[in-house]
């Protein structure tokens, strides 16, 4: 376990941030028409669900969501080898002509989003794809930028940003920990 942790967002702050992100997504899309939220496995899926319920509360519209597991689209199979757990991809909606918002917990190198864009392309041709992340920690290795950001944090390479969601982690929080 890391020896030092610092809390970036506690549960209440995280909730506020997600509600603000929901507003920004609706604003970005000029409403909720044709909107589809796609969460990236694993914690992006839970964050997408929170955003959807927040939009529902404000707009009275149930925005469709999907889940994307990008494991099979990674570019590091040759080097790192197979990941032990491949999650489910669940995109029951036709994406053609839709406005897809990719939702992920932390944006770092951009490689996950690159893989997600490749995978989405195999499901159809959305009108537009945008990116919403709870935390942007910088350190990009690819030309990828978020459209909606919950919070930008400055962290070193030897630090890790962990997003905890109550569905999986028993509490909501964003913490910075030392990398082992």
């Amino acid at each position: 376990m890391p020896d030092r942790q610092s809390i970036v967002l506690d549960a209440r702050a995280m909730d506020r941030t997600l509600r603000r992100m929901a507003d920004e997504i609706v604003e970005l899309n000029d409403g909720t028409d044709d909107l589809i939220l796609v969460g990236i496995q694993r914690r992006g899926v839970q964050l997408a669900a929170r955003i959807v319920s927040s939009i529902n509360a404000r707009e009275g519209v149930e925005v469709p969501t999907g889940a994307l597991d990008i494991t099979l689209y990674r570019d590091d199979l040759q080097t790192v080898g197979p990941r032990p757990v491949v999650g489910a991809t669940d995109l029951p909606w036709a994406l053609d002509g839709k406005a897809v918002i990719i939702v992920d917990d932390v944006l770092y190198t951009g490689r996950t989003i690159r893989a997600a864009l490749d995978e989405l392309a195999d499901f159809g041709r959305p009108r537009r794809i945008a990116l919403a992340v709870l935390i942007d920690r910088g350190g990009r290795e690819l030309p990828i930028q978020p459209d909606v950001v919950g919070k930008t944090v400055e962290v070193g390479h030897n630090q890790r940003v962990d997003v905890l969601v109550s569905e999986l982690d028993e509490k909501d929080a964003v913490i910075i920990a030392e990398r082992q």
Binding site: L72, L77, Q78, T79, P82, P84, T109
Partner: protein
């Protein structure tokens, strides 16, 4: 070369741990979805070259492996023994060396001799997947049978599965027995004693001499194909009698205390080991097995691929 969570090769289920088998089955789950997509392809094994080396004809298994490979974007070459240098008397060791010289990543081998897959695996660096070796093992068939059982019953543990027919000559039976037992199923076999190994007790399975008793006991029957040559070589007197005594019929199933699930690795001899109305009936999951075959093989290909520790070190930091 690469050593993933299954090791270098998949030669059988006997050498695998329960966790490794569960990992394959769990990994196969998300792969099912890929076959339901419009574009049935993910880039995972892009640039990998795989040879399907089939010394015995098997359309079903070869096609299933080929779909699995293509849906993972691997480049594949099929080598059938009849059209290759093998028929010119080339030995398996020479074949192996030639494949190695062509720098392939994986070999899927089907061979008539027990141990052929291991023989190959010990002599080449590429990953080797056993697609059936003699009367030894057929691990991907065992895995797809288990996935089909798990889909239906939700779990393998405690399940009563009876393997029916020519266990003596069946690699499918061996892989099923090892795999199911490792995951905690109760396994039985049923067939004429002349088609059961003399040392069947060593497998830790129950033996039923009468198919009626097996049906009374079982949650599921895995009905093996009866090779017609078994009759020619005198193991059983006739196919007719085999069907009368051991055939899985609707009448026999109707007397079971519960709905017994019916599996068959194919190809079927309708009217011999299984009657058509059973094979096509509501308790049959024979086509689910075929569908699951692709997913299981994708999982195995994925889990055996990639992973070079020295490169992993260089790429430290991973993806985020």
């Amino acid at each position: 070369m690469s050593v993933g969570p299954l090791g270098k090769d998949l030669l059988g289920l006997e050498p695998l741990s329960a966790d490794q088998i569960r990992l394959i089955l769990d990994t196969a789950e998300p792969f099912k979805e890929i076959s339901e997509r419009t574009i049935k392809k993910v880039p995972t094994l892009r640039g990998k070259t795989i040879v399907n080396l089939f010394f015995e004809a098997s359309t079903r298994t070869r096609v299933s492996f080929e779909f699995a490979q293509k849906r993972l974007s691997a480049d594949t070459v099929n080598v059938a023994a009849s059209g290759s240098s093998v028929s010119k008397g080339e030995t398996l060791v020479d074949t192996a060396r030639n494949l190695e010289a062509m720098r392939i990543d994986m070999v899927v081998i089907r061979h008539g001799a027990s141990g052929a897959a291991q023989f190959l695996a010990e002599r080449i660096e590429s990953n080797v997947i056993n697609a059936g070796d003699g009367t030894h093992e057929h691990p991907t068939q065992g895995l797809l049978d288990m996935l089909t059982l798990r889909d239906h019953f939700g779990k393998i543990e405690g399940l009563k599965v009876c393997i029916c027919g020519d266990v003596l000559h069946s690699r499918v039976a061996r892989s099923n027995i090892w795999g199911l037992k490792k995951l905690g199923a109760d396994v039985a076999v049923c067939g004429p004693r002349s088609l059961l190994p003399n040392a069947i007790d060593a497998f830790g399975v129950t033996v039923f001499d009468r198919i009626e008793d097996a049906i009374q006991w079982a949650d599921a029957l895995n009905v093996l194909r009866l090779q017609l040559e078994r009759m020619q070589r005198g193991y059983i007197p006739s196919l007719r009698e085999y069907n009368r005594v051991f055939g899985v019929s609707r009448e026999r199933l109707a007397r079971a205390p519960r709905d017994v699930l019916i599996l068959h690795p194919g190809p079927m001899n309708r009217g011999v080991e299984i009657d058509s109305d059973v094979a096509d009936g509501p308790q049959s999951v024979i086509l689910n097995q075929v569908t699951n075959g692709v997913a299981v093989r994708m999982a195995v290909l994925y889990l055996l691929s990639g992973g070079r520790p020295e490169l992993a070190e260089a790429a430290k930091g991973g993806q985020r």
